[in-house]
Subunit: 533 residues, 2 copies
């Protein structure tokens, strides 16, 4: 897992490359100096250092396993979790580094590393106060988020911060302050063009890959849409993963500007741009907790849009029994918060509550979703109508919001832009500008899962379908995933395929199908009358 | 760090040795079977497994770094955190285990290990509900604590649980329910003798080593006091660490019974007895958060006393500016909670609010504190009067509470029992019964820190003194620590020693003194008039 390096150009605060001064006198004497060793250990975003328990640094600093330690190499420093080693695969003078620690320290093999106790995390007293109900202002959020972005918080401290905003939900002023802080600690983009439009889907839905279609439509109609997307964190595909099967997405800032100046839009991976450096770290802990911290969600979403320079924003909020938001009321309450805070940053917002009851389109997985995007843009017979309709609704909302279409006429204009081939032509030009269009790969192995009874499909479980796609290898194997053959309301007969698993290895194929066999509720068939849908 | 093995005799629930069935079909086919390899990595109490990122198990299960995985070996299973390895110091077919994982799985080198996705943590939905303010009942606490004791919670989830009880404090019924659950998931001791007395100090104070003295006094006077104590977690010495320099403390249950039957009391390490298996795991995360979760503290303290079979309990609550509790009001509020909940379990309680403004006695560190204990019991000239007074006050409270002394006469009886040599004789017999009396070691290196100015000592910082003792090597080096030469109120002249650092290596000595030099506020000297103390 490659971690983005801190960039010299970003605004201060996150401070990874600043010297973090310990209160203990800095005594880089021989006993506390170790030699860097790359262990090739992937620890996600947590820097970890392995040291012999009998090394002088551990003994004289009184370090114990899982201590947090401050590592320094030259001008760089990082706070890491210490794992002690009592075996001789590590030398007594070595500091074995996880990949995250190695990259943040920017060292080479055998470079000297010094080890210290870190300063106390003074910002955590703000978290403690928040736990007991105190409200935080921008300066206090800034202290906390600076430390999180600099990876000074362990998972334990990050969890406490997130829970503090759940037990006592953030009020409007806190959401605005937190959004502002999350913008300030990252990089920001500015554009000559106006308006600059953006789109965000709150809470993933498998196969909901509208972004490439929307960008093609609105850029074709003269709007500017510099779209930065994420890779999957826990889902079978992020927009960047799917788009990468169609064109390069690892563009740096000058390349993004060039594409947008040329074509009016792009669909790139946002990881290299660091619009919100604390966000991925927070998301990872949020997923473990599966916790609904509305204030943090609002700030996370909007800070990226403010930082990306958006003036007009459409929010897609899918609602359904196995979506992130389960009721329309919850979706509407969230959309009020999002629109109100966005307004404070001068962003005009339009919220579209969409059907989140089942996966969108046919494919779930990077290449399979890319094929759906192509089918819609090319109007291939049998293209997924639901994906087409969603993309037109969302693109239409953007067209109306930015004055390119009269109220009520946006979706029809979007559909026309697909039908007349203009969106497809624009999409091809964007792909060329990003480095050249690609053909999405096909999986070596595929096998259908057959219905065991006849009846009507009454429900499809988004989470289980996503799980099957991941077990099949998505997003690591770009071609892997699930191809849906049934939708809610369809009449199905026993023996008919409900979906097919695509995989690159037979092991993954078997494993995904075994999970599907054990989880028949992934697709529920009612043998009686169809329910009212 | 040795982890206590789960014992077959303990009551069900924690379930480490039960099979934890994954919902995914159990397919122990070749691709998911790995060979155990002991890596000798100390990760404190967190089981960690290292696997090659390109191994079939990682690929076919769709595992990513920091996934939680279910490991099985024979009948044993454990949930571990996965760190992936992209280097060849680990074979593609190996599961490299941290010591915690190795011991919980109870495996040998190359034993087959299978890897699965763990079941969802269903108890965490109770934590989520608690975060939003729902009260929990005993059954709900039981689900959570069973999972924590079985190490199914990562630090992130444990942190969320602890914060949930801080944002919305536990009410009295929740404290009673949680105490009951923490008793139920551990082992319990029963005694023929009555009364069975116990003592607990809430919030450590450096050098506050009254326990061995109290046990000697009350056992000499016919009370039963089977005292199980802890080792230091983050302090320079726990009672078990100090006592270990005087006699063996690693006694199993039959040995404890034999000592107590013979002498009426013991001072042993509680780690082998598992009175409250979730507690150490919770304490470790609480220390990171430095969070005041009163309900959890009450349940943690009292569950161990209930499980140990205590009928009468004295609580020592030190209050001072650098103690855990900073005001008398806070100390009294906590004592009301403790006494009320204890009463629900039939335990008579007496609370003694004590002076927590400075370290107790002369020594801070295992052997140095043991020497203070000996000086008090032997009435060596110059013995630490404050330690003597505290031990007599607390022993006196126990004697009064259990009817061995009339109200108001307990402390005097305790002092007499020291003065006439009866307590010292009893202490020697207890040490012999535990395996033989030892002489505490002396440190190779010692050097005083001298006062830089003259005046009166106005404050001593418990936390900084503890830190100096730890930097000197305590508790790992038994002889290491700090020997205090000054107390609050003392008149001191420039150049006079304020304290001496004791260390086993010159490096540790230097490092502790360098920290002391950089932290002159460890002992504050006012050059003007003495403050009213």
């Amino acid at each position: 897992m490659d971690l983005p390096r801190p960039r010299a150009s970003r605004k201060g605060g996150a401070g990874m490359s600043e010297a973090i001064g310990p209160k203990i006198p800095d005594r880089d004497s021989a006993p506390h100096r170790l030699r860097a060793k790359r262990l090739g250990v992937l620890t996600s975003d947590e820097p970890v250092v392995f040291m012999r328990s009998d090394c002088p640094a551990c003994r004289s600093e009184g370090l114990s396993s899982r201590s947090r330690v401050l590592l320094r190499a030259g001008e760089k420093s990082v706070i890491a979790t210490l794992f002690q080693v009592s075996a001789d695969w590590l030398d007594i003078g070595q500091a074995g580094l996880s990949n995250a620690a190695w990259e943040l320290l920017d060292v080479q093999e055998d470079v000297p590393i010094t080890v210290h106790h870190p300063d106390p995390l003074t910002s955590f007293s703000q978290v403690r106060a928040r736990i007991f109900g105190n409200r935080l202002d921008a300066a206090q959020f800034r202290e906390i988020l600076d430390d999180i972005a600099a990876r000074r918080y362990s998972g334990i401290e990050t969890a406490a911060y997130l829970v503090s905003g759940s037990s006592f939900p953030l009020d409007r002023e806190e959401m605005v302050a937190l959004t502002r802080v999350m913008v300030d600690i990252g990089e920001t983009l500015t554009w000559q063009q106006s308006p600059v439009v953006d789109k965000h889907c709150v809470g993933g839905l498998p196969g909901n890959r509208t972004t490439p279609i929307i960008v093609a439509i609105v850029a074709a109609l003269g709007l500017t849409m510099p779209k930065t997307s994420s890779r999957a964190i826990t889902s079978p595909a992020g927009t960047a993963d799917a788009m990468e099967t169609l064109a390069p997405v690892d563009l740096d800032l000058p390349a993004i500007r060039r594409v947008v100046d040329l074509e009016g839009g792009c669909i790139v991976w946002g990881g290299a741009v660091r619009l919100s450096p604390a966000d991925d770290l927070l998301i990872r802990v949020e997923r473990v907790l599966d916790l609904d911290s509305e204030g943090q969600l609002v700030a996370s979403v909007l800070s990226k849009k403010v930082a990306a320079g958006a003036s007009h924003l459409v929010l897609d909020i899918p609602v359904g029994p196995t979506a992130k938001l389960r009721t329309s009321a919850a979706g509407e309450a969230l959309s009020v918060q999002l629109a109100s805070v966005a307004a404070r940053f001068g962003i005009a917002t339009s919220v579209v509550i969409t059907d989140g009851s089942q996966p969108v389109g046919v494919g779930v997985g990077p290449a399979l979703e890319a094929r759906d995007v192509l089918a819609v843009l090319q109007q291939t017979p049998g293209f997924p109508e639901d994906l087409h309709a969603r993309a037109c609704a969302l693109a239409g909302a953007l067209l109306e919001l930015s004055g390119k279409a009269a109220p009520g006429e946006g979706a029809a204009l979007a559909a026309l832009t697909i039908a007349n081939g203009v969106a497809w032509a624009k999409f091809q030009r964007i792909c060329e500008a990003q480095g050249g269009m690609r053909v999405p790969p096909s999986a070596k192995h595929r096998r259908p899962r057959l219905a065991e009874s006849s009846g009507h499909v009454t429900a499809i479980d988004n989470r289980r379908i996503a799980r099957i796609a991941k077990l099949a290898g998505a997003p690591g194997s770009k071609a892997a995933g699930v191809e849906m053959h049934a939708r809610v309301g369809d009449r199905i007969t026993a023996g008919q395929p409900m979906f097919s698993v695509h995989a690159e290895t037979s092991g993954e194929l078997e494993y995904a199908l075994a999970y599907a066999d054990a989880n028949p509720e992934a697709i529920q068939i009612d043998e009686g009358r169809p329910k009212e849908i």
